[in-house]
Symmetry: C2
Subunit: 212 residues, 2 copies
């Protein structure tokens, strides 16, 4: 059976995926710049992966792309605009050739036409419930697994619904203090999960959550 | 200068030091038993320390007792009673010969007479503010450091006041889901701290927070 997987979600030691006020010029909010202590491990791992190196961080990192046939994300992970789309010409954070190369379903209260990008990525905007979006994602994935990319709100929604099979979490040596907390708004959803692995690297700590 | 230190504070992967409804027959609240995944590392480390072994966990563990001359704790860490003392004959969680062997200052809204125990431990109950209690603790410590033991509420109070110099935190491979969160109620207090160390052992991850 294909699975629903989350990978490379990085939280600060105090549990935040981002600071407050996420916006175009600060995608991770106040106090968190791309590549600083929160994501330094990710940047290094992606470079190591490109160079064919191995290691704890890069080995976990590359798992995130293995056997993934479709991705689901929240609107904030596509781009910073809130409310009705003001500008459909801006095509998200991910550049002209997004690093997905498959269908990406974007949860939004304001659907807009599909956006086909170079390299095989198609963003499909939807206001359908998680179960419906997941069914479409599995269809698009053609037998491969589906990845829930983020951000925190979408991961929480899928955890609450018990839809996630495996979650790879990374704890970075940073304190953020306020903003978007990953382990929040979960109701009893987290009770269905346990920690299967906890592995420290010289840079961060990796954890794998699976169903009980 | 003597320091204010916190040691061996264990949180679940989702950030809790205890579940809800802490009470006499469940000191760590619903869903968390003493010695289970949350504190298994601590039990093993204390046994290893007694046996003279070394290792990542035991090395961090023994630091917690080194050069400590006085301890500060919250009332819930002394015992489970809330409100006015119903029964002063019960002398807390710590047994006839508590593992402190120095003065222990217990924050409570309901002071009661000092309680001298075997082995050199004296519990001193106080409703004074943290700064005052800390001054008394430094006097009692005679040049050694002061340890803030817990629980979460007292650690938060001392962090908010910027009184803690060093905090050793342990992340255990368990999910609790609800209860007392360590990184909560901190206002801007956490902004004065940074992560100086993040070290994984085969069992848990250790982190050291220090002042920026």
């Amino acid at each position: 059976m294909p699975k629903v997987r989350v990978h490379n979600v990085t939280i600060s030691l105090d549990g935040f995926v981002a600071g407050p006020n996420q916006r175009l010029d600060a995608p991770f909010g106040d106090g968190v710049g791309w590549g600083d202590e929160l994501h330094a491990w990710f940047v290094a791992a992606s470079q190591d992966a490109a160079a064919g190196k191995t290691g704890i961080d890069v080995d976990f990192y590359v798992q995130g792309d293995r056997n993934i046939g479709a991705t689901i994300m929240g609107r904030n992970m596509f781009g910073p605009q809130r409310g009705p789309w003001q500008d459909e010409s801006w095509q998200g954070w991910w550049g002209d050739n997004p690093p997905y190369h498959h269908d990406v379903f974007v949860h939004t209260h304001h659907p807009r036409p599909d956006l086909e990008m170079a390299g095989g990525t198609t963003f499909r905007f939807t206001d359908e419930p998680p179960e419906t979006v997941l069914r479409r994602a599995f269809d698009a994935a053609g037998g491969k697994d589906v990845r829930v990319g983020g951000g925190a709100a979408v991961i929480q929604e899928y955890l609450r619904a018990g839809l996630i099979d495996e979650l790879h979490l990374v704890i970075a040596p940073m304190l953020i203090g306020r903003g978007a907390r990953l382990f929040d708004q979960l109701d009893d959803g987290i009770d269905g999960y346990r920690v299967a692995e906890l592995v420290g690297s010289p840079n961060v700590t990796h954890a794998i959550l699976v169903r009980r």
